[in-house]
Protein backbone atom coordinates (compact mmCIF):
# COMPACT_ATOMS: atom_id res chain seq x y z
CA UNK A 1 0.00 0.00 0.00
CA UNK A 2 1.35 3.43 -0.87
CA UNK A 3 0.99 6.65 1.11
CA UNK A 4 -2.09 7.86 -0.77
CA UNK A 5 -3.90 4.71 0.34
CA UNK A 6 -2.66 4.91 3.91
CA UNK A 7 -3.40 8.62 4.46
CA UNK A 8 -7.20 8.32 4.85
CA UNK A 9 -6.70 5.32 7.12
CA UNK A 10 -4.32 7.36 9.28
CA UNK A 11 -6.82 10.26 9.35
CA UNK A 12 -9.64 7.90 10.35
CA UNK A 13 -7.53 6.28 13.09
CA UNK A 14 -6.49 9.73 14.36
CA UNK A 15 -10.14 10.87 14.45
CA UNK A 16 -11.13 7.74 16.39
CA UNK A 17 -8.25 8.28 18.84
CA UNK A 18 -9.31 11.91 19.40
CA UNK A 19 -12.88 10.76 20.12
CA UNK A 20 -11.64 8.04 22.52
CA UNK A 21 -9.36 10.50 24.38
CA UNK A 22 -12.15 13.09 24.56
CA UNK A 23 -14.50 10.44 25.94
CA UNK A 24 -11.96 9.28 28.50
CA UNK A 25 -11.63 12.87 29.68
CA UNK A 26 -15.44 13.07 29.81
CA UNK A 27 -15.53 15.95 27.34
CA UNK A 28 -18.56 15.96 25.03
CA UNK A 29 -19.44 12.47 26.17
CA UNK A 30 -22.57 11.26 24.45
CA UNK A 31 -25.12 10.05 26.95
CA UNK A 32 -27.55 7.34 25.95
CA UNK A 33 -30.63 6.38 27.90
CA UNK A 34 -31.62 2.79 28.68
CA UNK A 35 -33.56 2.22 25.42
CA UNK A 36 -30.71 3.63 23.33
CA UNK A 37 -28.13 1.54 25.18
CA UNK A 38 -30.20 -1.57 24.54
CA UNK A 39 -30.61 -0.65 20.88
CA UNK A 40 -26.85 -0.11 20.56
CA UNK A 41 -26.10 -3.52 22.08
CA UNK A 42 -28.59 -5.09 19.70
CA UNK A 43 -27.00 -3.31 16.72
CA UNK A 44 -23.54 -4.34 17.91
CA UNK A 45 -24.62 -7.99 18.15
CA UNK A 46 -26.16 -7.90 14.66
CA UNK A 47 -23.07 -6.35 13.08
CA UNK A 48 -20.78 -8.78 14.94
CA UNK A 49 -22.80 -11.78 13.69
CA UNK A 50 -22.69 -10.27 10.19
CA UNK A 51 -18.88 -10.05 10.43
CA UNK A 52 -18.68 -13.66 11.62
CA UNK A 53 -20.78 -14.87 8.68
CA UNK A 54 -18.72 -12.74 6.32
CA UNK A 55 -15.49 -14.31 7.62
CA UNK A 56 -17.08 -17.76 7.31
CA UNK A 57 -18.01 -17.12 3.66
CA UNK A 58 -14.51 -15.74 2.91
CA UNK A 59 -12.89 -18.77 4.53
CA UNK A 60 -15.15 -21.16 2.63
CA UNK A 61 -14.34 -19.46 -0.67
CA UNK A 62 -10.63 -19.62 0.19
CA UNK A 63 -10.86 -23.37 0.90
CA UNK A 64 -12.73 -23.86 -2.38
CA UNK A 65 -9.84 -21.98 -4.04
CA UNK A 66 -12.10 -19.17 -5.23
CA UNK A 67 -9.86 -16.15 -4.73
CA UNK A 68 -11.90 -13.00 -5.35
CA UNK A 69 -9.51 -10.69 -3.50
CA UNK A 70 -6.45 -10.69 -1.26
CA UNK A 71 -6.90 -11.27 2.47
CA UNK A 72 -6.25 -7.66 3.53
CA UNK A 73 -8.90 -6.27 1.16
CA UNK A 74 -11.37 -8.96 2.26
CA UNK A 75 -10.89 -8.04 5.92
CA UNK A 76 -11.13 -4.30 5.23
CA UNK A 77 -14.37 -4.83 3.28
CA UNK A 78 -15.77 -6.92 6.14
CA UNK A 79 -14.84 -4.27 8.72
CA UNK A 80 -16.28 -1.44 6.62
CA UNK A 81 -19.55 -3.28 5.99
CA UNK A 82 -20.06 -4.45 9.58
CA UNK A 83 -19.17 -1.04 11.02
CA UNK A 84 -21.53 0.66 8.56
CA UNK A 85 -24.25 -1.81 9.47
CA UNK A 86 -23.76 -1.01 13.16
CA UNK A 87 -24.02 2.75 12.54
CA UNK A 88 -27.03 2.36 10.24
CA UNK A 89 -28.89 0.23 12.80
CA UNK A 90 -28.07 2.72 15.55
CA UNK A 91 -29.36 5.61 13.43
CA UNK A 92 -32.55 3.73 12.52
CA UNK A 93 -33.22 2.90 16.18
CA UNK A 94 -32.59 6.51 17.32
CA UNK A 95 -29.54 5.38 19.26
CA UNK A 96 -26.79 7.15 17.35
CA UNK A 97 -27.47 10.82 17.91
CA UNK A 98 -27.17 12.55 21.20
CA UNK A 99 -29.53 15.24 22.49
CA UNK A 100 -27.28 18.02 21.18
CA UNK A 101 -28.60 19.22 17.78
CA UNK A 102 -25.21 20.74 16.89
CA UNK A 103 -23.50 17.37 17.27
CA UNK A 104 -26.21 15.65 15.20
CA UNK A 105 -25.68 18.03 12.30
CA UNK A 106 -21.89 17.74 12.55
CA UNK A 107 -22.10 13.93 12.33
CA UNK A 108 -24.11 14.22 9.09
CA UNK A 109 -21.52 16.66 7.72
CA UNK A 110 -18.77 14.21 8.75
CA UNK A 111 -20.40 11.37 6.80
CA UNK A 112 -20.67 13.43 3.62
CA UNK A 113 -17.21 15.02 3.92
CA UNK A 114 -15.49 11.71 4.56
CA UNK A 115 -17.59 10.20 1.76
CA UNK A 116 -16.38 12.88 -0.65
CA UNK A 117 -12.79 12.33 0.50
CA UNK A 118 -12.92 8.59 -0.11
CA UNK A 119 -14.63 9.18 -3.46
CA UNK A 120 -11.79 11.54 -4.37
CA UNK A 121 -9.26 8.81 -3.55
CA UNK A 122 -11.22 6.36 -5.66
CA UNK A 123 -11.36 8.73 -8.66
CA UNK A 124 -7.70 9.77 -8.32
CA UNK A 125 -6.70 6.10 -8.21
CA UNK A 126 -8.79 5.52 -11.30
CA UNK A 127 -7.09 8.45 -13.02
CA UNK A 128 -3.67 6.97 -12.21
CA UNK A 129 -4.62 3.90 -14.19
CA UNK A 130 -5.62 1.57 -11.38
CA UNK A 131 -8.63 -0.63 -11.97
CA UNK A 132 -11.27 -2.21 -9.78
CA UNK A 133 -10.10 -5.67 -10.74
CA UNK A 134 -6.50 -6.85 -11.03
CA UNK A 135 -5.73 -10.38 -12.19
CA UNK A 136 -9.38 -11.32 -11.71
CA UNK A 137 -9.38 -10.11 -8.10
CA UNK A 138 -10.86 -7.04 -6.49
CA UNK A 139 -8.12 -4.44 -5.99
CA UNK A 140 -7.55 -2.04 -3.10
CA UNK A 141 -9.16 0.69 -5.20
CA UNK A 142 -12.54 -0.99 -4.71
CA UNK A 143 -12.18 -0.37 -0.96
CA UNK A 144 -12.55 3.37 -1.50
CA UNK A 145 -15.63 2.87 -3.66
CA UNK A 146 -17.27 0.61 -1.05
CA UNK A 147 -16.27 2.95 1.77
CA UNK A 148 -17.59 5.95 -0.14
CA UNK A 149 -20.92 4.25 -0.92
CA UNK A 150 -21.32 3.22 2.74
CA UNK A 151 -20.60 6.75 3.97
CA UNK A 152 -23.02 8.36 1.52
CA UNK A 153 -25.73 5.85 2.43
CA UNK A 154 -25.12 6.55 6.13
CA UNK A 155 -25.20 10.29 5.48
CA UNK A 156 -28.50 10.02 3.62
CA UNK A 157 -30.05 7.82 6.33
CA UNK A 158 -28.84 10.21 9.04
CA UNK A 159 -30.14 13.25 7.16
CA UNK A 160 -33.59 11.70 6.59
CA UNK A 161 -33.72 10.63 10.25
CA UNK A 162 -32.79 14.14 11.42
CA UNK A 163 -35.45 15.77 9.24
CA UNK A 164 -38.13 13.30 10.35
CA UNK A 165 -37.12 13.71 13.98
CA UNK A 166 -37.28 17.49 13.72
CA UNK A 167 -40.75 17.32 12.19
CA UNK A 168 -41.98 14.91 14.86
CA UNK A 169 -40.59 17.01 17.70
CA UNK A 170 -42.26 20.10 16.26
CA UNK A 171 -45.60 18.33 15.96
Amino acid sequence: MNFSVLLPVIIAVAAILIVIIARLKNKNKASYDERQTLARYSAFRTSFIFLLFYCLICATLYILDIKWSNTAVQMFIGCILSFSLFIALCILKDAYFSDTPKRNVSSVIFFFLFGIMTLYYFISGFAKGNTLFMNGQISTLALWLIFSICLFVLGIIALIKLILDKRRSES
Binding site: D33, D165, S169
Partner: protein, 65 residues
Protein backbone atom coordinates in the same frame (compact mmCIF):
# COMPACT_ATOMS: atom_id res chain seq x y z
CA UNK B 1 -50.07 -2.05 23.19
CA UNK B 2 -50.23 1.74 23.32
CA UNK B 3 -49.84 3.42 26.69
CA UNK B 4 -52.68 5.92 26.48
CA UNK B 5 -52.63 6.47 30.25
CA UNK B 6 -49.16 7.93 30.07
CA UNK B 7 -50.09 10.08 27.09
CA UNK B 8 -53.20 11.47 28.79
CA UNK B 9 -51.33 12.09 32.07
CA UNK B 10 -48.65 13.97 30.18
CA UNK B 11 -51.21 15.96 28.23
CA UNK B 12 -53.07 16.79 31.46
CA UNK B 13 -49.96 18.55 32.74
CA UNK B 14 -49.55 20.24 29.35
CA UNK B 15 -46.14 18.67 28.86
CA UNK B 16 -44.68 17.82 25.48
CA UNK B 17 -42.76 14.59 24.94
CA UNK B 18 -39.55 16.63 24.83
CA UNK B 19 -40.31 18.36 28.13
CA UNK B 20 -41.15 15.09 29.87
CA UNK B 21 -38.04 13.49 28.41
CA UNK B 22 -35.85 16.31 29.74
CA UNK B 23 -37.39 16.06 33.21
CA UNK B 24 -36.92 12.29 33.31
CA UNK B 25 -33.48 12.35 31.70
CA UNK B 26 -34.12 10.30 28.58
CA UNK B 27 -34.49 11.07 24.88
CA UNK B 28 -37.78 12.20 23.33
CA UNK B 29 -37.77 9.08 21.17
CA UNK B 30 -37.80 6.91 24.29
CA UNK B 31 -40.92 8.61 25.65
CA UNK B 32 -42.49 8.25 22.21
CA UNK B 33 -41.58 4.54 22.11
CA UNK B 34 -43.12 3.98 25.58
CA UNK B 35 -46.34 5.75 24.59
CA UNK B 36 -46.55 3.76 21.37
CA UNK B 37 -45.88 0.52 23.26
CA UNK B 38 -42.71 -0.21 21.32
CA UNK B 39 -40.52 -0.24 24.41
CA UNK B 40 -40.99 -1.61 27.92
CA UNK B 41 -39.19 0.73 30.32
CA UNK B 42 -37.30 -0.45 33.38
CA UNK B 43 -38.86 0.01 36.80
CA UNK B 44 -36.38 2.82 37.45
CA UNK B 45 -37.63 4.82 34.47
CA UNK B 46 -41.27 4.01 35.30
CA UNK B 47 -40.79 5.42 38.81
CA UNK B 48 -39.07 8.54 37.42
CA UNK B 49 -41.98 9.14 35.01
CA UNK B 50 -44.53 8.60 37.79
CA UNK B 51 -42.76 11.10 40.05
CA UNK B 52 -42.70 13.76 37.34
CA UNK B 53 -46.35 13.23 36.42
CA UNK B 54 -47.53 12.84 40.03
CA UNK B 55 -49.06 9.41 39.45
CA UNK B 56 -48.55 5.93 40.81
CA UNK B 57 -47.17 2.98 38.90
CA UNK B 58 -50.65 1.43 38.85
CA UNK B 59 -52.12 4.61 37.35
CA UNK B 60 -49.75 4.63 34.40
CA UNK B 61 -48.42 1.15 33.82
CA UNK B 62 -50.97 -1.36 35.11
CA UNK B 63 -53.19 -2.89 32.45
CA UNK B 64 -56.53 -4.33 33.56
CA UNK B 65 -57.13 -7.73 31.93
Amino acid sequence: MKNLKLKSARAALDLSQQQLAEKVGVSRQTINAIEKGDYNPTIKLCVAICKVLGKTLDDLFWNEL
